[in-house]
Symmetry: C2
Subunit: 437 residues, 2 copies
C-alpha cells in the first residue's frame, strides 16, 4: 500500500470522483484506444472517470522511469509495456496519480492529453502469445462434472493441482466484438450418430483474466511466493462455450471446437498494485489439509486471494426493444469461488519449465460460488438446460439465443478503500452462418 | 505437377544431385538462418544440397512476383511470406528451380547468394500464433487408450471427427534446442497421494507439423476440398511428453504440463507443391463407412493423403561415446498411420469459425502405424514401460534418459519421382533442474 491507494484522494476530473465510477484516481487501469476518426492509430491509455489519458502524449509531462514507461505505451499493443516489470509500472502509476489529483500543477497540461471515452474505440490491449484457461472454482467443477460425468464429478487430481488446458489465442477479442454462433458436430444422447448443426447450447463463462508481465525463460520456474512480479493484473474474461459441441468432442483430449471460436476480454487491465487494498487470505475447505510445498507459500496463504465481486448480466433483444435494463444472472466473489490463487496458477504452470511471456493470458475458469444461484454460466444456472431461467421480462433462457447481449462486470469494495471497477466485457450473439450445401 | 517436379532435373550444385540428399532441386524447402558470425541477422533461405540460398540477396536476380516474394523473406520469421499465398510461393519456386538447374544462366550470380549449411545456424522459421495438436493415428489412439483407459480405449467420437487439443506456442523450439527434463506432479497408481519430482517417463512423439498459409477470418470456414491454398506445407514435429505428469493431470480437460514444456520442429518447411508427386488417396478402414459431408470431399478422397515415411532415431550418450550410429526405433507411413487428412483437419478446425492465421502450426499427432513396431513413441514401443526396448548397444530403454539424443526424420520416395526429405528434428535430453525445497 502506498500513497496511490489513499482513500482520501480525489481528482480534479470530477467524473473520477463519482461514487459509482469504475475508474477513480485509485484505479488507473491501462488499455489501448484510438479516436473514432480515420487514420488514428491505436495507442496506450489510462482510464480516469469518463476520460482516457493518452500516454504517449502525457509522457512529455513526466520524468525518468515514469516518462520512459509512458512512452513505451505508444505501441498498438501493451506487450512492450508488460515486459518492463513492476518498477516501471509503479513509477508511471505514481506519476499519473499525482498528476490527476486535486491540486496538481499538471492539470492544465494533462487536460490536453485527455480523450473522452465516448469518442474512442477500445481495441484488444495485448497480443496474446498463449492463452491458458484454469478451472479454479471447485463449485463449478463439481456441478459441471455432475452433468458430464455423474459417476465421477470431481477428478482425484482436483484438490492437488490447479487443473488447466490451453485455449486459442486467435479466439481472444475485445469487449464489443460480436459473437457468431458456432456450428459443429453434435450428438445428443438420444441420437445414434452425430450431425452438423449450429450449436443449440451456447453459453458464457464468467471469468477473470490474468495478464502476464515479464514472464520466465524456458526451463525456469516461478515460485508461489515469487509470482506477483510476473503478473501485471486482471481483466474480465468470457470463455464463450458451445456445450453441445464440447460434450461430444472433449474426451479424451479436452475442450477444443466447443471453446476456440471466441473469448472476450475487457479493454481495461487493472493492475495488481491497484488491487492491493483488496487482497485476502487464501482459504479452502478445512478438510483439504494437504498442500504440496510448491503451492504452499506463506505469503500466498496470508494474502494470495483477491476480494473481487463478479457479475454476469443479460440483455435480450426484447429487453433492448422495450428499454428494460439488463438482468443480473448471477454474482459471486473471486476469493470464495476460486480454490486456487493466481500465484498458485503461475507456480503450477511453470513447475515444468513452461515459458510464460509478456501479454500471455490466463483465465481463472468459471467463477461459480458455492450456491447454484452464484453460478457463472447458464449450464449450471439452468441445470444442464433442464430448468430454464425465467427472466423478469417474461422470457426464459436455458442457453443464449441470437440477439442476446451478455456482459460481465467486476468491482472491488471494502471499508476504508475506494471502490474500483473493471468496466465490462460484452458480446452480442449473432446467428450462425448457414452451413454449406 | 509442373516442370519443377520433373525427375530428370539436375542442379549445377553437385551436392543437390546426390542420391541420398534430402534437398534436391525438386524439393526447395524454406527456413530461416543466420551465418554463425556476430551480428548476422536471421533471414529466409532455401535448402539446396548442402547449401542455403539467401533469399533476400537472390531476390535481385528474379523479376515480378518471384522477386517480391523472395524480398518478403528478408524478415526474421516467415509469417509474412506465409501470408502471401500459393501464387507467390509457386512463382518463387519456379524461379529458384530454373536458376538452380544445370545450365542456368544465373549460376554464377546465384553462387554468390549461397551460404554453406555448415556455416549457418538454423532458427525457428515461424512465429507460431497458435499450435494445435491432432490425434490422427487410430493405431496410436487405440494403443495409448488401452494403457490410460483399458475399459474404453477409443472414444465414440474418434471415427467421426479429427480429435485435437490446443498446445502451447511458447513451447515450440527449433531442432537442436536442448530439452530440459520437466518436473511435475506425479501419482503412480500405487501411491495414495501425488508427489513432485522430475518426470521418470519422458517420451517423444513422432509427428508431422502442418504450417498454415493465409488462413481464414474469424467466423469463416475452410472447406475440405478448398483447404490446400490455406496450407503452406509440412515439417517434422516432436511433441515431447512426460507420461507420468500427463497421466495424473489429463482428466477432465486434457494434456497440459505433460506436454507444454517443449515441442521441437525441423528448421525446413517442405511445401505442398514439392509434395505433389507423393499425394495418395485417403483410405480408411472399410467398416467405417459414414463420413459427415464437411469431411467428405471428392478431391480429398482422391488425393488428400501424402505418402511420407517417418522415422525416429535414438542416439544415447554411450552410443555417441563409442561413435556408434543412432538406432532407428520405429518407422511408419503418414498415409497409413493417419485416419484423417490435413484437409480434414482444417475443415474440422474451422467448422465453428475458428480463425487460423499465417504461421499457425498443426501437429498430426503421433504417427504410429498398424503394428506396434511402427509406433511413434516409447509409451507404445515399451508397452507403457512394462517391456523396455533392448538397443543394439546393449542398453535398454523404457523411456528417455538424460543424455539421449532423439531425432525425427521423414522423406518421400516413389517410382518416377525424385526422393525428397525433411532434414531432421532433434533434441538432447538434459537433466532436470533441482527442485525447490
Amino acid at each position: 500500500m502506498n500513497e496511490t491507494h489513499d482513500h482520501a484522494l480525489s481528482s480534479w476530473l470530477s467524473a473520477a470522483n463519482a461514487k459509482d465510477t469504475d475508474f477513480p484516481v485509485q484505479n488507473l487501469p491501462i488499455g489501448v484506444f484510438r479516436r473514432r476518426s480515420p487514420g488514428d492509430a491505436p495507442r496506450g491509455g489510462i482510464a480516469i472517470g469518463d476520460q482516457i489519458v493518452d500516454l504517449s502524449r502525457a509522457s512529455k509531462l513526466f520524468e525518468g522511469l515514469a516518462a520512459q514507461t509512458a512512452a513505451a505505451c505508444a505501441a498498438p499493443s501493451l506487450n512492450g509495456y508488460l515486459a518492463l516489470g513492476h518498477e516501471a509500472w509503479s513509477a508511471l502509476r505514481l506519476a499519473l496519480s499525482r498528476a490527476l489529483r486535486t491540486g496538481s500543477a499538471l492539470e492544465e497540461q494533462l487536460t490536453e492529453c485527455l480523450v473522452p471515452e465516448a469518442d474512442a474505440e477500445l481495441v484488444l490491449p495485448i497480443t496474446v502469445g498463449d492463452y491458458t484457461d484454469f478451472y479454479a472454482s471447485i463449485h463449478h467443477a463439481t456441478r459441471v462434472g455432475l452433468l458430464f460425468r455423474p459417476d465421477q464429478p470431481l477428478m482425484p487430481n482436483y484438490t492437488w493441482l490447479p487443473v488447466a488446458y490451453h485455449g486459442r489465442s486467435s479466439s481472444v477479442v475485445v469487449s464489443g466484438t460480436d459473437i457468431r454462433r458456432p456450428c459443429g458436430q453434435l450428438k445428443p444422447p438420444s441420437a445414434s450418430t452425430p450431425t452438423v448443426a449450429a450449436s443449440a447450447r451456447l453459453d458464457y463463462e464468467l471469468e477473470l483474466g490474468v495478464v502476464v508481465g515479464p514472464g520466465n525463460a524456458p526451463g525456469e520456474r516461478i515460485s508461489v511466493d515469487g509470482a506477483d512480479p510476473h503478473v501485471y493484473g486482471l481483466c474480465l474474461l468470457n470463455d464463450w462455450s458451445a456445450r453441445d459441441i464440447q460434450a461430444w468432442e472433449y474426451q479424451p483430449l479436452g475442450p477444443f471446437a466447443g471453446k476456440n471460436f471466441a473469448t472476450t476480454i475487457s479493454p481495461w487491465l487493472v493492475s495488481l498494485e491497484a488491487l492491493e487494498p483488496f487482497r485476502a487470505p487464501w482459504s479452502r475447505d478445512p478438510s483439504h489439509t494437504q498442500v504440496l510445498p510448491y503451492l504452499a507459500g506463506v505469503d500466498n496463504a496470508a494474502r494470495g486471494a483477491f476480494d473481487i465481486q463478479v457479475e454476469a448480466r443479460l440483455s435480450t433483444a426484447a429487453m433492448r426493444e422495450r428499454q428494460v435494463p439488463a438482468q443480473v444472472l448471477a454474482r459471486s466473489h473471486f476469493h470464495e469461488a476460486a480454490y486456487w490463487t493466481v500465484s498458485q496458477m503461475l507456480a503450477h504452470h511453470t513447475l515444468n519449465g513452461c515459458a510464460l511471456r509478456p501479454g500471455d493470458l490466463l483465465g481463472t475458469g468459471t467463477l461459480s460460488g458455492p450456491e447454484r444461484e452464484q453460478a457463472g454460466c447458464l449450464l449450471e444456472l439452468s441445470h444442464g438446460g433442464q430448468q430454464p431461467l425465467t427472466l423478469a421480462s417474461g422470457e426464459s433462457r436455458a442457453f443464449l439465443l441470437d440477439g442476446d447481449l451478455l456482459s460481465l462486470h467486476a468491482w472491488c469494495e471494502r471499508e476504508g478503500a475506494t471502490r474500483i471497477g473493471f468496466g465490462s466485457a460484452s458480446g452480442l450473439v449473432l446467428p450462425a452462418h448457414p452451413l454449406y450445401d
